[in-house]
Symmetry: C2
Subunit: 369 residues, 2 copies
């Protein structure tokens, strides 16, 4: 078993990575827990809820399962309220523990429920997608969406443990594997050029879920993210570099409607765009922008962005919460493995949109047709 | 000007108490603030919003006023969303600062909005009722209600400053003065028997808003609460004693529908009930229980509880979040000025209900008829 320890001012917790962790969830449950509240969705529940609940039953605690509708479009207050309704109806107290069993949407919404139920109860993350294993389960960001923007309502709130069972990826659709790999290569791009090169060399192994390669990629991603988060829990400085590609990605997701693309797909495409902008505005060699484009393509993510219209692109990027005082700031790469946060001239952004927005349907990968 | 400093693990902030603080709000605004978002209600706005906004205008920052419907019955997600909608429509970023101008409902809801808007922005409390000045503005408890219970969804989140203008109490209805004084005497009952005796001697001065007495009462209440909160930000231990009277009070409020009684009125009555229970279950001399009843009456709060039916009383008290594993715990007084958290036998609770529940309309104070 690999263990990555995340230290933050708000708390410290372990990320445990191994095949079969699902069957050992009882190890993560604190001794004074009352009800164990498994928050999941029907897709994940059909595959893993019984195994998870059987493992949790070893604690002798009552278990309440809450199945939420599946999909980013349900990551809203109404769905969040389903958790509160069910927990209050069962008289769950402050020592109830939420177990978030699912991908990023389940983690975000169940984590936010834990953050605000009776002003905060404990929760355990059991991420079942590659994306959530390497991204949303590390760092304590929880949220729901608002009609005006993604993740607008939320909290920084740390789990007490993250349990990553690498076996569960075998049931993941290929498209979600690609989306998860987008976040993996992001860590290389912004923090670790050697890891980026390792990903280039192992792109096909990763897509094929080769166990050895996966374990390296997940553990290294968690370590790199844990390093950043431990430096900056509340996203006031360094942590912002984790948003590499995200200003473009959020515009894609908001512009197309949340859920049309997977978040990781949007991040993959957004990184291609941010790399192009880096070449124009931050000194990244054009050859490195091409390497990023090449690797995004190799892991199976889109490299052309949707044609939302330039004005709408700018509106959507300005609505993103990384805006300060009306100026759009981006995370850009001066070189591979190094990231800075900087405003960019609108003219350069326009050039990037001209170059990266799909003009024909044929420019999109087949998965998104 | 009196200043009480509140130190908590989650942050440190000043409470400034003086006549005319409303005109000096600009002093509390941080240099990097973007939009200043004044959250208030129509009643308070008509009296004080222009003065507050004129004071804030000295910072040169844009001001967005958001008026919420007035009353505890609107302390819910729908009203909270009005804040998010207005702020997102104005592209408020993470450096926007919320100014909560109003009583406890405004403070709770605006504070919770600050806690979760873009995962947390700064806010300043400007409490305009006596209750909120001595209670909800100290300690960082924010929340909205759920149909099943009061304050079920919320966060522990500290303001960056609390500004208490004692002049504004002159426009407060007498009933709200009494409700605020209930919390003042609570601090004496649980922590400071000398302060309790001082309140007994000055009950009529306080009801008449005599400025010198008020200043002493507000500052001492804030100091006592700040002491408790600084020991225990997240309500895992000592802080629970602040809930003296609240298990009964929450049942009253939930049983009658939130808003029928003022929160402080319910707390006043709840303290009479908790004192009776203390005499039966914690060794409080019956004469001290009578002193508490006498002072609650002297400050103008109800001393008889509504007749909800015994079963419903128990249901409502069990639904309160101070329940753990199904057992009802109370804050009780072994003696005046000292509080403990302890479970109580149902039989004794039943005796207290028999003794304190109103059997005739004449047992209620005229204000609640």
């Amino acid at each position: 078993m690999k263990e990555v320890r995340v230290e933050t001012p708000g708390g410290s917790y372990p990320i445990r990575i191994a095949p079969g962790r699902l069957d050992r969830l009882a190890e993560a449950v604190p001794a004074d827990a009352t009800t164990l509240v498994v928050v999941t969705n029907p897709t994940v529940a059909a595959l893993y809820a019984e195994r998870a609940e059987q493992a949790l039953a070893a604690t002798g605690r009552p278990i309440l399962r809450i199945e939420l509708p599946d999909g980013e479009q349900y990551k809203d207050w109404q769905t969040l309220n389903l958790i509160f309704d069910a927990m209050l109806a069962r008289h769950c107290d402050r020592k109830a523990v939420i177990v978030a069993l699912g991908g990023g949407v389940i983690g975000d919404i169940a984590g936010f429920a834990a953050a605000v139920y009776m002003r905060g109860i404990r929760f355990i993350q059991v991420p079942t997608t590659l994306l959530s294993q390497v991204d949303s389960s590390v760092g304590g960001k929880t949220a729901v969406n608002h009609p005006i923007g993604k993740n607008m309502i939320g909290a920084f709130y740390q789990p007490i443990a993250v349990e990553i069972d690498t076996d569960v990826l075998s049931t993941l659709p290929a498209r979600e594997v690609s989306a998860g790999l987008a976040e993996v290569i992001k860590y290389g791009a912004i923090l670790d050029a050697d890891f980026f090169a390792w990903c280039e060399a192992h792109a096909q192994d990763l897509r094929a879920l080769e166990p050895g390669a996966l374990a390296v990629a997940i553990a290294r991603s968690c370590e790199l993210k844990a390093y950043v988060v431990s430096q900056d829990e509340r996203e006031t400085g360094l942590r912002a570099i984790l948003n590499f590609g995200h200003t473009f990605a959020h515009a894609i997701e908001a512009g197309l409607g949340f859920g049309a693309w997977l978040h990781g797909e949007a991040v993959g495409c957004g990184m291609v765009q941010a790399a192009e902008l880096s070449a124009r505005a931050a000194g990244l060699p054009q050859s490195d922008a091409e390497r990023i484009r090449g690797l995004v393509l190799a892991i199976g993510c889109p490299v052309y962005a949707p044609d939302l219209g330039t004005d709408r692109w700018f509106d959507l990027m300005q609505g993103d919460k990384k805006t300060e005082a009306g100026q759009i700031r981006f995370i850009l790469l001066p070189r591979l493995g190094e990231a800075v946060r900087t405003p960019a001239e609108a003219g350069l952004v326009r050039q990037v949109l001209d170059r990266t927005v799909a003009r024909t349907a044929g420019e999109q990968p087949a998965t998104l047709a």
